[in-house]
């Protein structure tokens, strides 16, 4: 609207008083200050985001192997090698499972917790502050903390289950079974991500006018109906953002599987493979290509979720 309006104004105005405006323009001095104020930030973004991104895209089509110089154009060679490497394709599968488990669990738990926190109650602020703690912890620290829980020889979970006589022998949660390992590792990331999902969804819920619930109850809706027909539809913007941040986090999961499961194929993620390819094998070309694949996958999945879940809401 603004664009159309200003264009219309401009054309009408230029026909009416072109000469005085040109004179004003000639008389106006160029003001460098706004550009100068933006310049540091622009430089910062260009140097630390756009240039590395451009280098990544370009170099992913080159063979960049420190141990095997020189750097030469290789077309889709890096991508072909990645897709023919069974460890990489296995990690693609693992990462897909991380995404599915992580996004579903963190979103569902986020909705449940946000709805719980929607109405004011005593201690709500303290609860929200405590809730944020796992989100504030570094992934490596969380991995180490959870090692003490999942550990198969001396872990807390085995100890509790054994004390309750629910198991006779200690169970191996990590490293043995692929699905169990991925689930156990992803639980740690869900524990980290859910607070942010909760806050994002809670922000959406806080905007819902109370009158809508009153109207729904007057029309005979149950609490469940009100949740389904009022809360969920109106929380969709927040849910979509929460899901997108969960997709980004799970597609790039590194700390938790690396600390809890090492490089084992039962749980190695794509970002772990990027690290191994780039900094162990010193094959930066493949590393760039793998990073690019992760970025493209993140964009596609995120766009899909936004298209599916996001609906603009106006009150």
């Amino acid at each position: 609207m603004t664009v159309i309006g200003s264009g219309t104004r401009h054309s009408v105005g230029s026909a009416r008083d072109a000469k005085p405006k040109q004179a004003r323009r000639r008389g106006r001095r160029f003001d460098a200050l706004p550009y100068a104020l933006v310049l540091p930030l622009a430089l910062f973004i260009v140097a630390l985001a756009l240039v590395p991104a451009a280098v990544t895209i370009v170099e992913s089509f080159f063979r960049v192997q420190e141990l095997n110089p020189p750097t030469v154009f290789d077309g889709l060679g890096n991508f072909r090698r990645l897709f023919s490497d069974s460890t990489i394709t296995a990690s693609m599968g693992n990462t897909a499972l991380y995404v599915v488990i992580g996004v579903i669990l963190s979103t569902v738990l986020g909705i449940v917790m946000a709805v719980t926190l929607q109405r004011p109650f005593r201690g709500r602020s303290i609860l929200i502050a405590v809730l944020v703690l796992p989100w504030a912890l570094p992934g490596v620290v969380e991995g180490i903390v959870w090692t003490g829980i999942w550990d198969s020889n001396t872990g807390l979970l085995n100890s509790v289950l054994s004390s309750l006589h629910l198991i006779s022998n200690y169970h191996v949660f990590l490293g043995q079974n692929r699905l169990l390992t991925i689930f156990a590792v992803e639980m740690v990331q869900v524990w980290q991500m859910t607070p942010l999902s909760t806050l994002l969804i809670l922000a959406s819920l806080q905007n819902i006018p109370h009158e809508l619930y009153e109207a729904a109850y007057l029309d005979g809706s149950s609490t469940w109906d009100a949740f389904r027909r009022v809360t969920l539809p109106l929380a969709r913007p927040g849910i979509a953002i929460a899901m997108v941040q969960a997709i980004i986090a799970t597609l790039n999961v590194f700390d938790q599987p690396y600390v809890l499961n090492g490089a084992a194929q039962t749980g190695a993620s794509l970002t772990e493979q990027t690290y191994f390819v780039s900094f162990q094998n010193l094959d930066f070309g493949e590393g760039y290509a793998l990073s690019l694949l992760i970025t493209v996958a993140t964009l596609i999945v995120s766009l899909g979720v936004v298209k599916l879940v996001y609906r603009p809401v106006e009150y």
Binding site: A32, L33, A36, L37, L39, P40, L43, F44, A47, L48, E66, L67, T87, T147, D151, S152, N153, T154, Y170, V172, L174, G175, Q176, L260, N261, G262, A263, A264, Q265, T266, Y275, F276, F279, Q280, N281, L282, F284
Partner: protein
């Protein structure tokens, strides 16, 4: 109006200055090396705590070189070394040269040859493990501690099982482990860290050496493909051990240091075949972290028909090509690896001079001094092993593609232990990686 214009001019100048600083910061970080050895500050980046401040101050007083110590965990440090060298950017004047990265670092020419600065030939007579750092005739790192793999046994638990004569061969050792289990002394007598990590690879190398073999030949070709080969037998022995209940099932996901701390130091297991050379003194005999104080001892490696070799995995220090003050860094390395300082750091001359986490000097004279003063637990055994049994894992130095090879070793052996693949398939996959990388 004039005041406003002046304010705007000052603001504009300030912002442009900030922008130019940012632009300069984002430009090339290359540095030019200086041979100055006095009045300079050098950065030392190692995955260990620094020596006592008093020692560093004494070094500064005697040389005019100030040391800024940066303690970075091993994995992050390797990433920083690679990133800085690739970008040709300065990040430290002296840093870690791990034995496993020697081939890679040497081929990439990322470190200065140490013979340019130190008399490495003389040092070699006193530092048996310096050979692990000299591929292609150039020494690119000086070992600052002596680390090798050694068998440890809890003699109290062995005695409870009626074993008073320590095993000297692998067959006896395996039989003793079975006896410990069958007599119910411990449910799982042997510690093998089966997590997919470097500790599993080095355990296999040590076990292969005990079976009388090597991993790779001089041209990097695998020596373990035949079922009769020591490497194959070692892999089979390790996987059989977990399947037959000699190793705790939970070890499938436990890395080496964690297993040493939570199992061996707690008396849950009775032996670690490939343990770290300093662990008796620095872990098992420390009451705060151990419940087996004075129970664990070093053992000459049980081999096929007698004592086998011990594989060296020492930590080294070198000078990256982008160092600002390589000559000053060399002076520091000379001081840091001197026999006297190493003995001090290991506790020969009182707790004030101890460097946290430092245990065994790389210089034989340092080991002798420490042992003579009775400050080295298991000193006679360790001195003897260091002088006579400690051998490089790869005679020609680790190949440049070692990190890729090691990953193939630990991921496939881990998979074999989880029943995801057979030992034969694991060995085939490891050999295939070695063949591909060495060709």
């Amino acid at each position: 109006m004039t005041s406003l214009r002046r304010t705007r001019t000052v603001l504009l100048a300030g912002v442009l200055a900030l922008a130019s600083v940012l632009a300069a910061g984002c430009s090339s970080g290359g540095s030019s090396a200086s041979n100055k050895t006095t009045g300079v500050t050098i950065t030392v980046a190692l995955p260990t705590a620094p020596p006592p401040q008093a020692s560093l101050d004494a070094f500064t007083k005697s040389t005019g070189i100030t040391v800024k110590w940066t303690n970075i965990d091993w994995d992050s440090l390797q990433t920083k070394i690679a990133a800085a060298a690739t970008a040709k950017t300065y990040f430290a004047d002296a840093t870690d040269v791990d034995w496993s990265r020697v081939g890679q670092l040497s081929k990439l020419n990322w470190f200065y040859p140490m013979e340019n600065y130190l008399d490495t030939k003389s040092l070699a007579t006193q530092m048996p493990q310096i050979s692990s750092f000299s591929p292609n005739g150039h020494v690119i790192g000086i070992p600052y501690d002596a680390s090798f793999l050694v068998t440890t046994v809890n003699k109290t638990l062995f005695a409870k099982a009626g074993i008073t004569t320590m095993p000297t061969t692998l067959d006896q050792y395996t039989a003793d482990l079975r006896q410990l289990k069958s007599k119910g002394v411990v449910q799982y007598p042997l510690n093998i860290p089966f997590a997919a990590a470097e500790g599993l690879s080095t355990y296999w190398y040590q076990t292969t050496a005990a079976f009388g073999g090597t991993i790779l030949d001089g041209s990097g070709k695998p020596q373990f493909t035949s079922p009769d080969s020591p490497g194959y037998k070692a892999a089979q022995w390790m996987v059989d051990a977990i399947k037959q209940g000699l190793v705790p099932p939970g070890n499938i996901n436990v890395p080496d240091t964690q297993a040493q701390q939570t199992l061996m130091a707690k008396g849950t297991v009775a032996s670690t075949f490939a343990d770290y050379s300093g662990n008796v003194g620095s872990l098992y005999n420390v009451p705060a972290s151990s419940s087996v104080v004075n129970q664990v001892t070093y053992l000459p490696t049980p081999g096929v028909s007698g004592a086998g070799p011990n594989m060296s995995n020492p930590d080294g220090i070198g000078i990256p090509r982008q160092a600002k003050y390589p000559a000053a860094a060399a002076k520091f390395i000379e001081w840091f690896t001197s026999a006297q300082n190493q003995a001090d750091f290991a506790g020969a001359n009182g707790p004030d001079k101890v460097m946290p986490g430092y245990f065994l000097p790389s210089q034989l004279a340092g080991v002798t001094q420490l042992n003579d003063k009775g400050k080295l637990i298991g000193g006679d055994e360790l001195s003897d092993l260091l002088k006579n049994s400690a051998k490089p894992i790869f005679q020609q130095g680790a190949p440049s593609w070692y990190p890729q090879f090691s990953k193939a070793v630990y991921t496939n052996l881990h998979a074999a232990a989880t029943n995801s693949m057979t030992v034969a398939a694991a060995i085939k996959a490891i050999a295939s990686t070695a063949n591909e990388l060495s060709s």
